[in-house]
């Protein structure tokens, strides 16, 4: 059965009653509500009227002029916000609404929007276009880094740069990388490094964090400053999946600070391998050349005789010897394999140079016609042959010959 009914109530009595109920409710008198703004109007009276909604429901809101004057953002339809205030009855039309005292953008909703808006704006202005991108120096002499001087990001960058390319100098400008003051601090650091003549590449960024924490790198002033810089800049903010406006205006976006370090300097070990492979190839080709020359000489011994091979080649060989000695000296300290190869070449050259064996007491035997005698087959008893020694020659008469068997 129903409650006690004294008499029919007037409409305003009912609404007044409900209003009192609401006013006595602990929750409804002070609460925060999170939702998306819709039907937003900023009335000429200065009051703001809007609804907050989520995917299931909506609630009417009003924020009076006196309360909304100090808002630090302009609410718009679609903004996700948190409002704080009370829920009460508007007696005149029997509806309830939120009387908003405070309103704040709900992190993501608003920042994401700000991010997208700024991104669209700067892109339209051409700040992201590839024609403005500067090339990075292949071998940076000094890399300037603007980031927090503590934490994993800077440690990772320094260790990777030093591992990949030890000769590179690093200059770290410590800066705040989150919070309201961060963009100005980062700009200050960039300005300082830009003014340093010895710095030829700049990295700015930070390690991972929430969208809000990374947001300083999506600051418009910072973006415009990076764009204006003469020195190449790598932007490295957060993780692979994080994007910031500085990534788009920088000359290169690195997915992470570690990646920035990898992009900044070449890998010395890989370069050395490449270089040594070439060096080895050069040595080998000289070796091949000398080998084939050696073969040519022995097969053309006859004809060369008339050209006096020794005198023709002596100068060349002295030259080769001295080059090779010098090169061998240099390379022996650097590369054992190349060094060994050089020794082989040098021996090869010595073999080609008849004056060396002569110094050791060997002789070259010529027949009557001046041909070099390599075999006993063409020689008979009583033939005249000449023996060349290092300081002269001896004319001799063959007394006897003996063939080696086998």
């Amino acid at each position: 059965m129903g409650g006690i009914i004294l008499r029919p109530l007037l409409v305003n009595e009912v609404n007044g009653y409900i209003k009192k109920l609401f006013a006595n409710d602990l929750l409804l008198t002070y609460l925060s509500i999170e939702g998306e703004i819709s039907n937003f109007t900023h009335h000429y009276s200065g009051h703001m009227y809007f609804s907050l909604k989520d995917d299931k429901s909506r609630i009417k809101c009003v924020m009076f002029k006196g309360d909304n004057q100090n808002l630090d953002f302009k609410p718009k339809d679609g903004n996700k916000v948190v409002v704080t205030g009370s829920v009460s009855i508007y007696e005149k039309d029997g509806s309830y609404q939120v009387y908003v005292k405070k309103m704040a953008p709900l992190g993501k909703g608003d920042l994401h929007k700000a991010f997208e808006e700024l991104k669209a704006k700067l892109e339209k202005e051409g700040l992201f276009s590839s024609e403005h991108k500067k090339d990075l120096p292949r071998f940076p002499k000094k890399i300037g880094i603007v980031t927090s001087s503590t934490g994993a990001a800077i440690r990772d960058m320094v260790s990777i740069i030093k591992r990949r390319f030890p000769p590179c100098d690093i200059l770290i400008y410590p800066a705040l990388v989150q919070g309201d003051q961060a963009p100005k601090d980062i700009i200050k650091g960039l300005k300082y490094l830009e003014s340093r003549e010895d710095v030829d590449l700049i990295i700015t960024g930070r390690g991972g964090g929430s969208f809000e924490e990374l947001f300083p790198f999506s600051d418009e002033e910072l973006a415009r400053y990076i764009f204006s810089m003469k020195k190449p800049v790598i932007s490295a903010v957060g993780h692979e999946t994080d994007f910031s406006i500085s990534d788009f205006v920088a000359d290169i976006r690195a997915a992470t600070p570690s990646m920035a370090a990898e992009l900044a300097v070449p890998d010395k070990r890989a370069l050395l391998d490449e270089l040594n492979t070439l060096g080895y190839g050069i040595i080998r080709s000289v070796d091949d050349k000398l080998n084939s020359l050696d073969n040519e000489l022995s097969s053309h011994g006859r004809s060369l005789k008339f050209l006096n091979p020794e005198s023709i080649l002596r100068d060349r060989r002295l030259e080769i010897d001295s080059i090779l000695k010098e090169v061998e000296f240099k390379l022996s300290k650097k590369l054992m394999t190349m060094d060994k190869k050089l020794t082989t070449i040098k021996n090869r050259i010595n073999l080609l140079n008849p004056s060396i064996p002569l110094e050791k007491g060997y002789g070259i035997i010529y027949d009557d016609l001046g041909n070099i005698v390599k075999s006993v087959l063409g020689i008979n008893k009583d033939d005249r042959i000449n023996i060349r020694l290092q300081d002269g020659s001896i004319k001799t008469l063959v007394l006897e010959k003996e063939e080696n068997n086998g």
Partner: protein, 84 residues
């Protein structure tokens, strides 16, 4: 060898060209020696770029508007060792 007015890439490229020329038949001894000399010059030049002495790591200390450079003391070198 720094008087070679070449970038590392240019030197390396020239070295590659020299190598392919030297591997071809038909070079006489003079040419071979000449190219060999040049190749070693380029090799030394490139090696010199890679073998420069280890660079420094400095941190800027801000004192008002003045900046002072101090050694960066974070022990990043330990991490380098771990990597090997």
């Amino acid at each position: 060898m720094d008087n070679l007015k070449l970038s590392y890439e240019e030197a390396l490229k020239e070295l590659e060209v020299l190598l392919s020329q030297m591997e071809e038949e038909g070079l006489n001894l003079d040419e071979t020696i000449g190219k060999f000399k040049r190749a070693m010059e380029l090799y030394d030049y490139c090696k010199g770029i890679l073998d420069k002495a280890e660079g420094e790591v400095k941190l800027i200390l801000k004192k008002g508007d003045l900046q002072e450079e101090v050694d960066f003391l974070e022990d990043y070198k330990e991490e380098i060792d771990e990597d090997f």
